[in-house]
Amino acid sequence: MTKIELTVNSAKHTREVEDRTLLVDLLRDHLGLTGTHIGCDTSQCGCCTVHVNGRAIKSCTMLAVQARGAQIVTIEGMAKDGRLHPVQQAFTDCHGLQCGFCTPGMIMAVAALLNDNPHPSDAEIYHGLEGNLCRCTGYINIIKAVKQSAGVLRNG
């Protein structure tokens, strides 16, 4: 067992974890942040995407101990002061979610994508979302949501 400290959604946490505990399990099981989902065991679905020190990371591919001292944002930390993040807003505006299981990971991936590239082309959006699977929407409305939120973020 190792003792780690990390910041999640602006709150500091200290936990004892097994060396092999995955970050996603720390978030879900130890911190009760079940908005981050697990959709696969081969790092392919992106349901578990969170931000670690400002970068989108699949939290099933990172050990909890590797996140020691990190600043982590999960889907629960995206809305601020009662206002949805523009990407969250765009997903609902554009009907970019159906069952919603992929959605937290999608939103985290899109927010990071737009942070890195505020003006993505269609091809860059497809490429940026290659690691996020959605079984419900056919992605068409997700792409719309990416474009809407890109516009809002650029102007905001």
Binding site: E18, R20, R28, D29, L33, T34, G35, T36, H37, I38, G39, C40, D41, T42, Q44, C45, C47, T74, I75, E76, M78, A79, G82, R83, L84, Q88, Q89, F91, T92, D93, C94, H95, L97, Q98, C99, G100, F101, C102, T103, P104, I107, D122, A123, I125, Y126, L129, E130, N132, L133, C134, R135, C136, T137, G138, Y139, I140, N141, I142, I143
Partner: protein, 767 residues
Amino acid sequence: MSDTHTASRREDLRLITGRGRYASDWNLPGQLHAAFLRSDRAHAEIVSVNAAPALERPGVVAVFTGADAIAAGYTRFPLMANFTNRKGASLLKPERPVLAHGKVRFVGEAVALVVAESALAAHDALDAIEIEYRELSASVHVDDALASSASQLHVDVPGNLSLEWEAGDDAAVAKAFEQAAHVTRIKIGTTRVVASPMEPRSYVVSYDAAAASYDVYTSAQGISLLREQIATLTGVPAEKLRLHLRDVGGSFGQRSGVYPEHAALMIATKKLGRPVKWVSTRSEGFLSDAHGRAIQMSGELALDHDGRFLAARYEFTCDMGAYLTPGGPSGHLRNVAKCMTGVYRTPALYGAWKVVFTNAAPISAYRGAGRPDIAYVVERLVDKAASELKIDRAELRRRNFIPLDAFPYKSPTGGVYELSDFAGCLDKALPAADWAGFERRREAARKAGKLRGIGLAVVIEGTGAGQYPQDQVALEFDAQGKLSIYTTTLSGGQGHETTFAAVVAQTLGVAPEAVTLRESVLGKEIIGNNTGGSRALVATGSVCKLAAQKLIERARPLAAEALELEPSQLEYGEGAFRSRDCEKVIGLLDLAQKHISKNPHPLNLIAEGAFGSTFPNGCHIAEVEIDPDTGVTEIVSYVAVDDCGNVINHSIVEGQVHGGVTQGAGQVFGEHAVYDRDSGQLLTGSFSDYYMPRAGLIREIHLSEHPVPSKLNVLGAKGVGESGCTASLPTLANATMDALRPLGIQDLDMPFTPSKVWHAIQAAKVK
């Protein structure tokens, strides 16, 4: 947050903020964790099982095996619909112990259950269980399973054949074929696919010894059917099964039935006296979730000199996997027979089915359940006939459409189609796709070194009639005077909270926010169907409307009393009762508020209705471009004209079509659960090997509605959940074939993977 939120759907806010509650989000105090040891053999006798070493592992509490399943008597799965053939034989349904006993019959079958203090500890202990197998030869393909040399999966199923079934008139078809000027033949099939909703299966089960009842926390497609099925499998009375169902991360038919894991966990929790939680990994999901489709089909179409259809004959060989799921082959038989004539007047029709066991994961419903399969073979056959006869594909269809004056149309194999305007859908779709200008685009592509093709399909499907003869909906006011709708359906993304609330709110003339949908809630004594078969809005949605109308009538005398008038003196509209002169008014919700101290609330009610199968239909057109150097097919454009009857929420309907078309595209271009024909191992057991549609596969869908309201239900709805899949399978395949046909390629089948297409092109060049 709610005041700044402008959600298009009622369910969205919790889902985009991470506050949804899916099955694996449940945790109970004191819970233990489960992991299943799964067979790594496709077909073998179990000589011995030694679980003792696993019990030595840290954290392990107990191990359960097939012997426990036999002791509990958990071996007989329910079968939602049996089928009997003309000789009087019914489906042979072998027993299936919830943990394998005596034999394993597919790779991934649960053999033992380890329960431990943590999920990691349970998984760690799996490899300590010692199992000795005696291997048998395995048949993962229907042809192998039907061969005389095949080893039999079940002692009570000779030849691995569960049933031979038929529909239609064989003799009339044979006669028509004798008179035919032309016969077109095709042999194709739908691949075995894995529904793969993004949420893996997960169950938390606990036992209350005092009440002899079980609490089951999971995701499903509705409360009634799953509870009944668990009861049938385990013998535990339905009222002792308390199901807790909330958000569902996609279903697509795969969650329609009881699974062995439900019952195995019940054995464990009862024995151990603590809740037990199991969360499937994706890898074991690929092995053990019900798979879908997998029908080998051959079709023959007889035409006269003018290209009019005289008769059609089909053979269907249905791969059921190793056992019958509760859904069994009902989609493969009933849904296929119902729409075997497609959208055409075909005077004589005959189909023959074989329902076959193989050493593969059991098959159940998957989005469309037989509907996409029959549409695929019919529409490919028609395209091939058009090419052989050199008749324009749209024209050949037009010549044979069931005309408007022939409805209601009784198909020779069962379905009674309600009014549909196939020509109208086609007429809308052709210009939208610029069908007429296609040859120019083909030529331009050719100059750029690409093969371009355009394809269309006109399809119809019968939506699910439901397992229960009627659907009930309850309307109840709570202590704060808020109105809730209770149904037995369960949305897996279809947006019922928005749509059903809209139906009730519109009927009552109140704001949608005044009404909240609560689906599949424990303790509501209503009976009704699952979500599935594209029927939730058609049937349950219709009863929502009836319930709202009933509420108005139930409220009328109370309103009269409040306004000191006779009930007959009141008019209802815009959410309020009014005297004729409009002098006296009382809002329905205010009236309800006046009575909240009464228990039960006098306006609470249950409405019911029986609404059967409807017939969504439409015309889809796709254009594709193939790079002959790589075999990669790109979907260049997609047009969908759908008649799903009256629409309540257009963006939800659009979303359903997007999702359905994309799942179809996934199957056409890559999805395929492939088992090694010798070893019986699943070769496509993860998202790295199993093709999944990704962003950009279909970039846009031009959608138009062509509604012909249904007369079979009070909403005039026809359903939309499956139509995208049903239409896109033949549409995309026909487009791809159109690109390849100029090379002389006639009979390529799905999945049109780059390597398959490239090889076909190379082979055609050599010819």
